[in-house]
Point group: C2
Chain length 253, copies 2
């Protein structure tokens, strides 16, 4: 029976950090194939496989995507930028060819399946990248301007970019560490949910404030969560995402 001690997969998972500065080495096609194979091996609801991925290496396109994604320079600096797409268009094309309706794609449930299954796949790619010595970071800001991203990538209707993933060899000089998380007791409940688990947050606030200060950042966890979720003004334009998704063919009925 494999155990926890000395488990290399667990060790790799626990050592993961976001990488936003990359060395010059390109990501090879063999590595890209491995990331996609890992992604495809993730679970998917009813085997729908409702996602696609667009691998972007062209410097000009990366620069345009960086501008669309909150002007984050590391998007252009990464040798490979993967755009993960919740893709119901494949099923829609099948339905059109077969002359049948596909009304389930009008509902929020199906849009959520698209996002969730894309996430399951992408997280497998993240760990596969780690196993190959590659670093990565997700880019949710690709949702700041979904219509412009769809145009840049030639996405058909019913296909929407959910998040990007910048991939490359980590620059060892990047000032960044493994960010501490909430104490396990704050997120793990047994048999029934217990809001008293929140008692572990104050110790975490202290720990994260110290971590942030080490990297020149202010605030603890609570203050940053409250600022991030304050309202439309803290959402970088994503407060209209429901309407944009509907216009792009992923409605939320």
């Amino acid at each position: 029976m494999p155990g926890v001690a000395g488990n290399e997969v667990l060790a790799l998972q626990l050592a993961r950090r976001s990488v936003r500065r990359f060395g010059p080495r390109p990501v090879t096609d063999e590595e890209l194939s491995a990331l996609v194979a890992a992604a495809q091996s993730a679970p998917t609801s009813s085997n729908l496989q409702p996602w696609s991925v667009v691998a972007v290496r062209d410097p000009d396109r990366k620069a345009r995507l960086a501008a669309l994604a909150g002007n984050q320079a590391f998007v252009a600096q990464a040798p490979l930028f993967l755009v993960w797409v919740a893709d119901l268009s494949r099923a829609r094309r099948l339905a059109a060819g077969a002359g049948v309706e596909l009304a389930a794609t009008e509902y929020l449930e199906t849009t959520l399946i698209g996002f969730v299954d894309t996430a399951l796949a992408a997280q497998n790619a993240v760990l596969a990248a780690s196993s190959l010595g590659l670093g990565s970071v997700f880019v949710g800001a690709i949702r700041n301007h979904p219509a412009e991203v769809a145009a840049e990538l030639g996405l058909p209707p019913h296909a929407v970019a959910t998040f990007g993933l910048a991939v490359g060899t980590p620059d060892p000089d990047e000032p960044a560490g493994v960010k501490p998380r909430l104490p396990p007791a704050a997120v793990l409940h047994r048999e029934r949910y217990d809001a008293a688990a929140d008692e572990h947050i104050s110790a975490y606030d202290e720990r994260l404030a110290a971590y942030n200060a080490h990297y020149g950042l202010a605030g603890n966890w609570s203050s940053r969560v409250l600022a991030r979720l304050r309202g439309p003004e803290s959402m970088a334009g994503r407060h209209v995402l429901r309407q944009t998704l509907e216009a792009l063919g992923l409605p939320s009925r």
Copy 2:
């Protein structure tokens, strides 16, 4: 530089299959802790960590959840059933304590972050389980009756069960294999999306029809996708998920 050949993480990912029959050995607390630690090490948008997990071992509760999740007996048979919760209630409690608004939680964008970040975490747990010799399968049917599941687990407002994960030692006699996926060329696009990738679907349809037939199931991929997404009647009640999420405090403005 670690490579693709002989990479144990990739090998483990590619060998994953859904496990729906479990041996009698319990999942230990040490293993559960490892799964949660792996989950917590996954990326999360702005470090929001908007999820919780409820570990269910009580046989009666598992049986009730199995009934709510499409009467799938393996939910009760698994020694451990993890219910992954998109949890904005923690942030809401912080906000209430601080006397501030948290209006971003009214928007679809934030609900999607809740579901996506929960999925990233859960997928890490899936692979951690594999590394420990445990099998698992996701249970999307936990969304068939979200309000009843919330009541069973005592979930507070703004916390919703996204999917379950049945975990245990695989029964080696289960008739199941690693399900083939779409050819990589059908899902991987370079620089821009190319719908001509659909040309790879027909070969996959033949392959999956043969796989299904081996396990006594009818249909190829296309026919099953079209049946699954036909309309509300194929959604096991989840066509009202948007309204239910809103009632439970995860609206989609």
